[in-house]
Symmetry: C2
Subunit: 296 residues, 2 copies
């Protein structure tokens, strides 16, 4: 495959359709309390880029594995991502009113149901991981371990704790650690899980993880730039809030141009890490470029 024949937008569209229909299916249990199911569906099916499940499926596919084998893992990762958004938006945390262009979960369902629907999505992610009986047992268990580590105190939740403490001055290394945990851990886990399902060798698993770490960092830096530059309408969430809350961002540390140069540097490193994949890496290289292009 080379970059001239790979159609990113078409691939994204197809994979998003597969992901969204699978997400929908995994949220349709008649025996769940209706209000809980509605709150879970509301946030999971509110759109979004589906970056993490798309990444997981793409890694799996370039390793020659049918993405049908990876849909439940992709779904699990998106459930974890959505749970983190619901809890992060709560009045006790970031107190955001809009997300993905619509009112946040607690604004529609109240704080109690927002907390509980986040909890339920977290647990349901691990239920999803047990639906993959076509995968080797060792891989199934490794997926549980990678996702659980990325989710809790070793990963994303630790990043959220650092984020709520990020009031005032934050050094570059502190900000890097915050984002590696809060955003990077789950993006890395998505790529890692795709590689495990695709049966990647340890060196390939490692290459894909390095790619995802840098991709995640670039994604966050671009997010900081967009937060400063965008209007609420463009972002689909309340814009400029980081500034209002006194949170240190990459723009504070490096300015808009400097932050963008850093993002470009991350994407360069991400792409270089995939050299051993040769042409097979094209979809991941194009995905990396698209993260930078979010700026325009």
């Amino acid at each position: 495959m080379n970059s001239t024949c790979y159609q990113f937008e078409l691939d994204l569209k197809h994979k998003k359709e597969r992901i969204e229909s699978h997400l929908k299916m995994r949220l349709e249990y008649a025996d769940w309390p209706p209000q809980l199911r509605a709150a879970m569906q509301y946030s999971v099916l509110a759109g979004g880029k589906r970056l993490r499940p798309f990444l997981l499926l793409s890694v799996c596919e370039i390793l020659g594995t049918d993405i049908a084998c990876a849909l439940d893992a992709a779904c699990a990762v998106e459930f974890i991502h959505t749970f983190s958004l619901i809890h992060d938006d709560l009045p006790a945390l970031d107190n955001d009113d809009y997300r993905r262009g619509v009112p946040t979960n607690h604004r529609v369902f109240g704080d109690a149901l927002a907390i509980l629907s986040g909890d339920a999505l977290l647990a349901e992610a691990f239920v999803c991981l047990t639906y993959q009986s076509q995968l080797p047992l060792t891989v199934q268990l490794e997926l549980v371990r990678v996702l659980a580590l990325a989710t809790g105190a070793h990963g994303m939740t630790a990043g959220q704790v650092l984020d709520i403490a990020n009031i005032g001055t934050c050094s570059e290394s502190q900000l890097l650690r915050l984002h590696q945990l809060k955003t990077g851990a789950l993006i890395e886990a998505a790529a890692h899980m795709g590689a495990l399902i695709g049966g990647a060798s340890p060196s390939l698993v490692n290459a894909v993880r390095v790619y995802a770490q840098q991709l995640g960092l670039a994604f966050q830096i671009v997010d900081d730039v967009l937060d400063v530059e965008s209007t609420q309408e463009e972002m689909g969430k309340t814009a400029g809030r980081d500034k209002l809350k006194g949170k240190t961002t990459y723009v504070d540390l490096f300015g808009v141009q400097g932050a963008h140069r850093q993002a470009e540097q991350c994407i360069k490193q991400a792409c270089e890490s995939l050299s051993l994949l040769g042409d097979r890496a094209v979809p991941l290289l194009v995905l990396a470029q698209s993260v930078l292009d979010r700026r325009r």
Copy 2:
């Protein structure tokens, strides 16, 4: 083994020590943000009956398996239980100030950290389940499945959703479903997991699950009675709150004496379900009796 030689209090003391030292060990990661680790440790190590992990270890042991094989599963169940208490106590849910005789997590660490430490415990439970490499892979995966189902929208979290909607009149069958989900699902999962680790036959797994369902129900009914009768000091949490909140309880439906008779009936059924275990069932029979004795 017969009931004259089994020393329940001594067994409980020994197992509690093993459980608590394991819980402590699993919460000591130097790289976790200190305030997150402190909030997790605060609630997990605040004492408590350790009913669920004790049940898990007891079931495992009467099947002839060394409880050392089951400590991580026991720890996982207790992490899930503690996460549910932390979130349940939040102002947006039950708004409780005391739990296990000390201020609730959010009263000490604030709502944000209480939400996040609950999330982290939920995720960490699944990390724990991947530390059990001495168990067959199929058992390890089945443990993930049983625990995830008991935790989320198929189990405990669904019960919490029904509980926050339990304002006004609630029928006996609605109350039964609420408690089967909110309290019963995790107690049943604990026994189920112990049986899986102990290598139980399907019929034995089933017997142990029926026992735990009835045990859980009795536990809840006794809790309702205690909530009416006890002072805050005896309960270690704010007493009489169910009444204040207008929640329907078993005492509302059957009166104190009627509720106690129901609890006795549940314990009778629990014990009968274990007939195929013969004398090996003694520790579980004594445990069941102890749930009734909480009343005095």
